[in-house]
Each structure stands twice: as C-alpha cells, then as structure tokens.
C-alpha cells in the first residue's frame, strides 16, 4: 500500500470520527466510550484521532494516550481483515489452547499480536470468551468456534483461501467479460 493511500484512508477515518464526536457529552467519563466507538468502527486508534478526542474533551493528549494504552481493547495500528483471537482461558489452556495458538502462528507465519504482511489476518490471544464448556475456543471474524483442533485451524484458514481465490477468479472473469 502506498503512502498516499494510507493517508487517504486515515483522512476518511478522521472525518468519520469527527462527525460522530458530537453525539457524546464532554465530561471526562465519555473518554472510554468515545475510544470504544473509534475502535469498533475503525479497529484502531490513529494518532491524530487521539489528539482530536483530547481536544474535544478538553484534556491533554497524553492523558488520552495513557488511558488508551492501559486497556487491552485498544490498538494503535490497523489490524488484519480477519481478526483471529485464540482463547487462553483456564479451560482452554487445560485443553490445549496454546497448541491452537501455535498452529495459527505456524500457518500464518506471524506471532501472537501481529498482522500478516498482506493485512489479511491478525492474531491475538484473549483471556476467556466465556465459552469454557466448548474449550478450546477461537474467535475468527467475531464468530466463536468451539472444540478447536490443529486440523480445524487448517480447515478454517483453507476456507478463507478458497473464498479469496474464488473472489479473484470472479473478478478476473468479470474483467475479461468487459
């Protein structure tokens, strides 16, 4: 992705955030809900967004940053298209959640907390999604997959690959039809 593209992308994000800020009050206790709104809509907090929020609430930018970095929920870089979360709650740990995480790491060639180079996948560990009776559990694209196994990891990723190839083929045939 070129630099130009990147800043275009960020500009659109910032415009979106600006248009939504006014629906929040200006008391300090709106800080986390605002950050959550940005995280949910755009999946990360761009640097300029932090300044924008600070100005809106009339607090120091460093305070916004201090709060945002405290909580697990907030990211400071754009994540992959398909976020993958591997649960490492107690029940998942005992039934081999770390092995599931390792399999994702191996298959995607990234470590926990990272995003693949093509920005398709990002991988992280979470502490208990509350589906302990189905351990081990992974959340892919917000869908909870229970009773995971290394073979299921492969199956899930294969599914994405097939889907992507299908889309590319469709795109190609569309183009050739033109």
């Amino acid at each position: 992705m070129t630099k130009q593209n990147n800043s275009d992308e960020e500009r659109i994000i910032l415009e979106d955030i600006e248009s939504r800020l006014s629906s929040f009050g200006k008391d300090r206790w709106n800080l986390i809900p605002i950050l959550q709104m940005i995280q949910t809509r755009h999946h990360y907090l761009p640097a300029d967004a932090i300044r924008m929020v600070a100005n809106y609430l009339d607090i120091a930018a460093c305070e916004v940053y201090g709060v945002a970095t405290f909580y697990n929920q907030f990211r400071f870089n754009p994540p992959g298209k398909h976020p993958i979360q591997v649960c490492l709650g107690t029940a998942c740990h005992v039934s081999g959640g770390d092995i599931i995480l390792e399999n994702f790491e191996r298959k995607l060639g990234i470590r926990e907390g990272e995003t693949t180079e093509d920005r398709e996948f990002s991988l992280e560990r979470v502490a208990c999604v509350g589906c302990c009776a189905l351990a081990p559990v992974a959340v892919v694209d917000k869908i909870v997959h229970g009773r995971m196994a290394p073979s299921k990891v492969e199956g899930l990723l294969l599914g994405f690959q097939i889907e992507k190839e299908k889309q590319e083929r469709a795109k190609r045939s569309d183009e050739s039809n033109l």
Binding site: D27, R28, W29, N30, L31, I32, P33, L35, Q36, G66, V67, F70, Y71, N72, Q73, F74, L88, G89, T90, A91, C92, H93, V94, S95, G96, I99, E102, N103, R106, K107, V126, A127, C128, V129, G130, C131, C132, A133, L134, A135, V137, V144, H145, G146, A149, P150, S151, V153, E154
Partner: protein, 643 residues
C-alpha cells in the same frame, strides 16, 4: 430518603401486568407446535443459529406451521445446542433435545412434527411428568440444583419484557415502592446475603452504609466485569434474564436512595451488552425505569458502561476509575466506595448475582433465604463447572454442598475413566484443591480455609493428566499480564514468580526455587495494594501445599509426572502396537514429523515434533500406539529411513 408510595403504583403496574399476560397468551397458540432454542453465547458457539435456520427451512419445506422461540441459557452447556419442542397434538409432553445439529433438526421436523414420532434415541428427557418419557427434572443434575438466580434462565425470552412480567417479574419492585426503604435494607441485612463477587461482604451492611451516608446524590453500580478465566455465570444471567437483574438494581436504588445506576459489563461480552441495553429500553418504555417510575416520584436512570479489557477493573476502586475515564488502577481503601465512590458519591457496588438474588429475597422474605445454604453463607452459589468433567455447565446449588457431591454426583465426574487430580476454584485468586479435601463444603469461609476462594465461582476440574506446576504457571502468566503496574509487589513480584515457574516447567528449575517462590509469594500477599496482588500467589501457594512432589519432580528429575509440560515430554509410536499401512497419524500431523519406517510402521522425528498431541487423538483406539513419556529422553529412537 425516598417517600413511600401509595397504591397508585400498584394500579399503574396492574395494567402493565395484564397486558403482558395477554400478550404472552396470544403469542402461545395452543394449536401449533413451539420450538425453543437456547441462544446465549454458548449455544451460539455450539451452532444454535445453524440449527435454527435448519428448523426454519425444514418447516417451510414440509409446510408446517410452528412458533420459533429464543431463550437464554439453561446451564447445561454440555448439551448445546439445546432445543425444546412442545407439540401438543402429538400427545407427548414438551421434550428436551440435546446437541441438536442441523441434520437432527431436519429429522425432528419430519419425524416428530409431521409423524408424531419423538425420536427416542435423540431426546434427553421430558419437561414434565408423564408415562412415556423420563422427566429431566428427575435427573441428578436437576434434583440437586436449587435455582434462585437462574430460576427462569433458559425458559424465558430475554428479549421480551412481557415474559418476565407475566411470570411475576417487577411485582417485587412494586411491593418495595410501597414500603419503607429502611425496612428493605434491614431485610436484605437479615437475609445474610453476602456479595457474590468474591470477597463475600455482607450486602445489607453495604446498603445500610450508603443509605445512611451523607451526600445528596448516590449511585449504584452492577459489577459485570467478570474476568476470571473459567467463569461465565454473570454473562449467562445478563444474556438470559436481564430484567431480574434490573429489578434487583431498582430495589437497591430505592432502598439506598440512589437516582443513577450503571451496569458495567466487560467488552468481551457483546451479546450481554446488547441484551441488557434492550432490556433497559423496554423497561423504560413501560415506565418501570427512568423518570417517575410507575407514576411515583422515584427516578432511576440506568446506563450500560462497557469495560475495555482489563481484569483489574473487577476490583471496585479500579472499576470506578475506569468509569471516570481514567486508567483502571485500584486505589487505597479507605475511603471505601460506600463512603466516597464514583465521582465522590456514596456508591453501592454489587455483583450481577447479588442484585439478581434480591427479587427472590423480597418475594419470599429474608428468613426463607437465610434458611437455604449454611449459617454463615446463606443462599445458593452458582458455579461454572468446566474442564475434565462429564457434564460441564452452570450449576446453582445451596451453599454447603461438598465439592465431591458437586463434581461427581451433579456433574457426572471425570470422563474417559480417568482419575481426578484437582479442582481449581476462584480463578487466578483461588487455588487448587486435591482429592483429599473433596469433602470440603462450598461456602465462603470453608474455601478460604483450604487456601482457595469462592471468587466469582469458576471451577475447573482437572484429571490425572494435568500438571499442577503448569497450571500454577498458567495463572501467574494471567495475573502478571493483568497486573495494573501501580504497586511494586504486584508489578515486579508477579513477574519474578512467573519467571521461576517458567524455568521449572522447562526443566531449568534450581534447588533454591521452591524457597524463593514461597518467600516471594508471602511478600506479595502482604505487601500488595489491592486484592489482585494480594491473592495472585494463591495458585502457587496451594499447588506447593498440596502438590509439592510435582514441583520436586520437575526440578530434581527434570520430569513432568503428568506429561503436560511440553519441554519435558516426548511422543513416540509403540512399534509393537502400530498397524502396518494405517496412515491416520501421518495425516493428522501439522508439521510432517511422522515418517514411515522400512516395515511400513510409523516413527516420530523428535526434532520436528511440536508435541501437539494430534497423532495421539488420530491413532485408532484399537491400536493406541502413540505414547507420551517424560523425561523426553525415555522415548525410543526410531531412525528415519533415507529418502
């Protein structure tokens, strides 16, 4: 102090109740079958949505009219997706089906709804007594349970306030509005209810403190920041019966004189947030929350606040900081929140289960409640029993039941004929309890006494293949990552504990490590600022107390007795048992570490093996040729033939 309202509130409510009853009656058309599906998070994860669409498609194909109903969680997580079919025309009572896959759903539509054959091989039981099918209520699970908080979970649609009202919901609030707030506080105090969030502080005493506190504005907070890995009862209650919680909160607000209430829910529970938000809107629309409740001058504004993923925010002072828009770091107490809490106001903070117990206490009286359970811990406890157990799920039982009874009688014991090793109670703040202490009753004090903690009620059962050093390491890894970093002991101390345990599980333990672990644990317990730090060493201390020999095996023999620590374990294939020509393990291996020997048997390349255990699962049971050993050098060496 709130005024006492007259019968006008009752008349206002009566109209609402009548409408709710007629609405639910109209919905339940006796002539057509009703299909109820559990759609809380566990159900969804097990595939409830696929099951639901399979039902819908099959109904359309067969041209059958039926009513689809969504409910929350009934607590029988092992049986998800759960479906209850009420088909009066068939002559059968409502039937409970478990693990209903889309395929089963299609079969049920055809066989049961069309041909009146309920498929005996797929049902779990009937929902009421009859002569044809055993009743589920006679199963040990239902027999031993006593449901107060979860009474209606899994039976009502959490998205429809009229179902809660039609079953008597909100009438306790109406009753309370006509009595003296002080009387309510004293009643809750007399009931002996202790906070279900973990520490077990007397709820009524907390309310009394806030009701008598100076200050014009007061606030109540429901702590739904359920962070203990392995505990999910708060999520279930929020998703399955949100109105019972809201009614409990409204009663509390009236009793202590608060006009604002906040439901704090952790970010990882999107469905819970959605359900409770919708419930608040519905209650406001009927005038049961918001301004001038039921025409009285009692106002209660309820808002939802989402946590942002910090375990420490379960600690009340940290939770308050995070609502205030700050870093969620615990503060020194006193002042307690009851004196000066959110925005400096006197604040009641109670757990989801605590508030949800309130309507039942008001309905049946404090004396009724205090007679359930034990003398010092009255009422019921909800446990999420997970791990190596036959019937995992949520269980609500009277306090005082023994662990043995709970694990073996109610939850069916350990699967695969394996032996019991330990039960971990109370999550990262709790401890592991060995077999010898299984006759310990579950109540606040008895669990503290054996070094564990009631905590939020997470219970993880571990079989003989679980390494207790590894489990202790797991919990320290968790607390160390979740330490807020404010105070020295927790920030740096837990890091060192984790490093030592890390070393031990890798076979690099030192002779001085056990003493170091003990000293450091005691220091952290004594010196930390908040409950997170003060309880963080509990998993280590209980593991050292009850399973010291396992630590010693790791340190002195470089051996993991349970073959769980991967650096100390190796897999190999027993050539005497391996079948020629079977390739099951080869295909299962994610790293191509399994090769074929000259006589067409299999071997594992130890340099490539990542010890995931897939081959062991894949190897057909009649061969069971894949073995695990510790220390790893005990694995026989099989040469890989040259290609």
């Amino acid at each position: 102090m709130n005024p006492i309202y007259n019968q006008q509130v009752e008349q206002a409510f009566d109209a609402i109740r009548q409408e709710a009853i007629s609405k639910t009656k109209a919905a339940k058309n006796e002539d057509i079958p009703e299909i109820t599906i559990g759609k809380a998070t566990c159900g969804l994860a097990a595939g409830a949505l696929d099951t639901e669409s399979a039902f819908k498609e099959a109904l359309a194909e067969q041209g059958i009219q039926a009513r689809m109903k969504s409910v929350g969680c009934i607590g029988h997580c092992y049986a998800e997706p759960i479906v209850i079919i009420d088909h009066p025309a068939s002559g059968f009572p409502p039937i409970f089906y478990h693990q209903v896959t889309p395929g089963k759903a299609r079969m049920l539509v055809k066989s049961f709804l069309l041909d009146h054959d309920p498929l005996f091989e797929h049902l779990l039981g009937a929902m009421r007594e009859n002569e044809m099918i055993p009743q589920v209520l006679d199963f040990p699970r239902f027999q031993f349970e006593k449901r107060i908080v979860m009474e209606q979970s899994g039976f009502i649609d959490p998205g429809k306030i009229e179902e809660y009202i039609a079953r008597g919901g909100y009438s306790q609030l109406v009753k309370v509005l006509q009595s003296d707030p002080e009387e309510i506080v004293q009643g809750v105090k007399r009931s002996g209810l202790r906070g279900r969030g973990g520490a077990g502080f007397l709820t009524g005493a907390k309310w009394e403190f806030v009701s008598r506190a100076e200050g014009k504005e007061k606030v109540i907070i429901c702590n739904g920041d359920e962070g203990d890995p392995g505990a999910y009862m708060d999520r279930t209650i929020l998703e399955s019966n949100p109105h019972q919680l809201l009614e409990g909160m409204a009663i509390c607000a009236y009793a202590v004189g608060a006009g604002r209430a906040i439901v704090y829910i952790r970010a990882e529970y999107p469905l819970a947030v959605q359900t409770i938000t919708q419930a608040i809107q519905q209650a406001e629309a009927l005038g049961l929350l918001g301004k001038n409740i039921l025409g009285s001058s009692f106002d209660l504004e309820v808002v939802v606040f989402q946590g942002s993923g910090a375990f420490v925010c379960g600690e009340e002072t940290a939770l308050i900081k995070s609502i205030e828009g700050e870093r969620g770091m615990p503060q020194h107490r006193p002042p307690y929140p009851a004196q000066s809490g959110l925005w400096g106001m006197p604040t009641v903070i109670n757990n989801v289960k605590t508030f949800s117990s309130i309507p039942a206490i008001v309905r049946n009286g404090p004396e009724w409640f205090s007679e359930i359970g034990t003398k010092t811990s009255p009422g019921t406890a909800i446990f999420s029993v997970v791990g190596d157990v036959v019937h995992p799920g949520l269980i609500e039982i009277p306090m005082g039941v023994t662990l043995r009874h709970l694990i073996f009688d109610v939850c069916g014991g350990i699967p695969k004929k394996k032996g019991f090793k330990a039960v971990q109670i109370g999550g990262p703040s709790g401890g592991c309890i060995p077999e010898a202490l299984l006759d310990t009753p579950v109540d606040f004090d008895a669990l503290n006494h054996v070094g564990a903690m009631m905590g939020s009620g997470g219970m993880v059962i571990m079989d003989e293949d679980t390494c207790m050093v590894n489990v202790a390491r797991y919990f320290l890894d968790f607390t160390q990552k979740e330490s807020c970093g404010k105070c020295t002991f927790c920030r740096i101390g837990t890091h060192h504990l984790l490093r030592i345990l890390d070393r031990i599980t890798k076979g690099e333990g030192r002779e001085t490590d056990l003493e170091q672990l003990e000293t450091l644990s005691q220091d952290i317990k004594r010196g930390s600022l908040c409950g997170l730090g003060r309880t963080a060493p509990n998993p280590i201390l209980t593991a050292l107390r009850y399973f010291r020999d396992e630590f010693e095996a790791h340190i002195f023999e470089k051996r993991c007795p349970a073959c769980m620590c991967r650096q100390l374990t190796a897999y190999y294939i027993d050539l005497d048992k391996c079948a020629r020509g079977c390739d099951a393990c080869v295909g299962s291996c994610p790293v191509e570490a399994i090769f074929t020997t000259k006589d067409r048997k299999k071997g594992i390349d130890q340099t490539l093996c990542v010890k995931c255990g897939e081959c062991m699962t894949a190897c057909p049971e009649e061969y069971s040729a894949v073995k695990k050993v510790s220390p790893p050098d005990l694995a026989p060496i099989v040469e890989r033939p040259d290609k």
